[in-house]
């Protein structure tokens, strides 16, 4: 059985853009409040008071449009992956579509699959464009993730996102998809019930059967189908809930650390959930050379992984300069203490 996902037409990325809010809180500061020592990361990004998943999506989408240099009205679908929807019912995607001037001739919807909603939207965009139904489709992954105060998720749950515009492969394509593969199983490692503020998770159960099994299976499945070995890739970006997990995946697959580090930002911005691999890939596209092959594997609790193989094209050199780079946002930072962080996260009842 052929397992590779590949559309009839060759498609690729014509524009990408990232966004990370400027506020940070150090793990040390969170640990001070809850009496914890030994931290998964150094610091994480925090949304401003006036930022949510929608505003993060808007700025990422605008950056993607700057690089794509297309009329936003030519985007025929805008799919937004998030697990921090500002509205429980009412699409976030329509707000973003309106804000970038893409309305009204398009399809729009919100996707949810824990941390892999962004790549889920991307799979759909590849299909929409690759079938010939649409000239361009935009996939966004963004979150202002929730972690219960004092829970170990609070040390990593952060804010950020990235947007990708998919189009048919031409000389304007800055990187094209060789193929993709999705792997999902019903594995309840992390969930949030309706009307609950915070997610719950299966502690150690989130590692082996969930994260590692799905990511490694998806990566291996894609490589088998494309007949590639780990050495065929110049970069690899894996879902990054912390620093240790993606580096362990690299070790299991036999991919050297050096190929993973350029797209591994979780140590300094945290886990942006639906945005995580999308922001990591945007950091890689900011520095990759034409001809480079990139392995991209997301993970979403629940659980599953999407794996993509990307080849960078010549257009990257010119287009990456058309919008702020990922590190421009990562390096722009202001530290918050826990009291201000709590205000930014909307914890005070007025």
């Amino acid at each position: 059985m052929r397992r590779l996902l590949k559309p009839i037409k060759d498609v690729g990325i014509v524009g990408y853009g990232a966004y990370v809010p400027m506020f940070r809180i150090k793990n040390e500061e969170i640990g001070r409040v809850w009496g914890v020592n030994g931290f998964p990361i150094q610091e994480k990004s925090v949304n401003n008071l006036d930022e949510d998943a929608i505003t993060i999506g808007i700025e990422a989408a605008r950056n993607a449009l700057k690089r794509a240099r297309i009329n936003p009205r030519e985007i025929r679908a805008l799919w937004f992956g998030t697990e921090s929807k500002p509205y429980a019912v009412k699409p976030s995607a329509t707000v973003i579509a309106e804000a970038i001037g893409a309305t009204p001739d398009l399809d729009a919807a919100d996707f949810e699959f824990a941390c892999k909603a962004g790549t889920e939207a991307l799979q759909a965009a590849i299909g929409f464009v690759g079938s010939g139904m649409a000239k361009y489709a935009m996939a966004i992954g963004a979150d202002t993730s929730q972690g219960r105060p004092g829970d170990h998720l609070e040390f990593t749950a952060s804010a950020g996102g990235a947007a990708y515009i998919v189009g048919e492969k031409t000389s304007e394509t800055l990187a094209y998809f060789e193929g993709s593969y999705s792997y999902v199983t019903d594995t309840p490692d992390f969930w949030r019930r309706q009307h609950e503020h915070y997610p719950r998770h299966g502690n150690r159960f989130t590692g082996e059967p969930a994260y590692f099994h799905q990511i490694v299976s998806a990566a291996k499945g894609l490589m088998e189908e494309l007949d590639y070995s780990p050495s065929d890739f110049d970069y690899a970006v894996f879902h990054q809930p912390n620093v240790k997990f993606p580096l362990t995946v690299a070790k299991i697959l036999g991919i050297p650390k050096e190929k993973v580090l350029p797209g591994l930002l979780s140590g300094i911005i945290g886990n942006t959930y639906s945005g995580a691999t999308l922001v990591g890939i945007s950091a890689v596209l900011d520095i990759a050379k034409p001809g480079d092959r990139i392995l991209w594997v997301s993970f979403g609790s629940g659980a599953g992984s999407d794996a993509f193989s990307l080849i960078v094209q010549d257009a990257i050199e010119e287009k990456r300069e058309l919008a702020p780079k990922t590190m421009d946002y990562v390096n722009r930072k202001k530290y918050l203490d826990y009291a201000l962080y709590a205000k930014h996260r909307g914890k005070y009842i007025m």
Binding site: L49, E98, P324, Y329
Partner: protein, 135 residues
């Protein structure tokens, strides 16, 4: 406050609030914000949509410490008169900036941010604000 009856009042202005779209007189070329049905310069009535670049400079500013109802959670926050590079001056909040970093003539760019929420169960209003440019 902010009950469904009021939604249309805000919805009518989404284009202007989300994207900073104003008007340009087809007769004399004057650009203005927000868009008006009659040109304030020549009285012409043929006005088309005009997309402002979002780049501008701070003309003057103040810090709001006693905000109007609905904005309490955001205090203290700066509001400024921003002169857009195309000419019009708009009143808007500044964001991602500390009060001591703000100065006369400071360059800013437009971003779309959350302006306010109407209670727990009301709509969320998004609109233009300005911040120091990323690059």
């Amino acid at each position: 406050m902010g009950r469904p009856m009021q939604v249309s009042r805000y919805w009518r202005h989404f284009k202007e609030k989300y994207r900073l779209i104003g008007g340009k007189c087809k007769n004399c070329g004057h650009v203005h914000f927000p868009k008006r049905p009659v040109c304030p310069e020549c009285g012409g009535k043929d006005i088309e949509d005009f997309q402002f670049s979002g780049k501008g400079k701070v003309v003057s500013w103040t810090i709001v410490r006693n905000p109007p109802s609905g904005y309490e959670y955001y205090k203290p926050y700066p509001i400024a008169l921003v002169e857009l590079e195309e000419g019009p001056v708009v009143l808007a909040q500044l964001t991602d900036v500390d009060p001591e970093e703000i100065d006369f003539g400071m360059e800013v760019e437009m971003v779309t941010r959350k302006v306010r929420e109407f209670e727990e169960d009301g709509i969320i209003l998004y609109g233009y604000k300005f911040r120091p440019p990323i690059k």
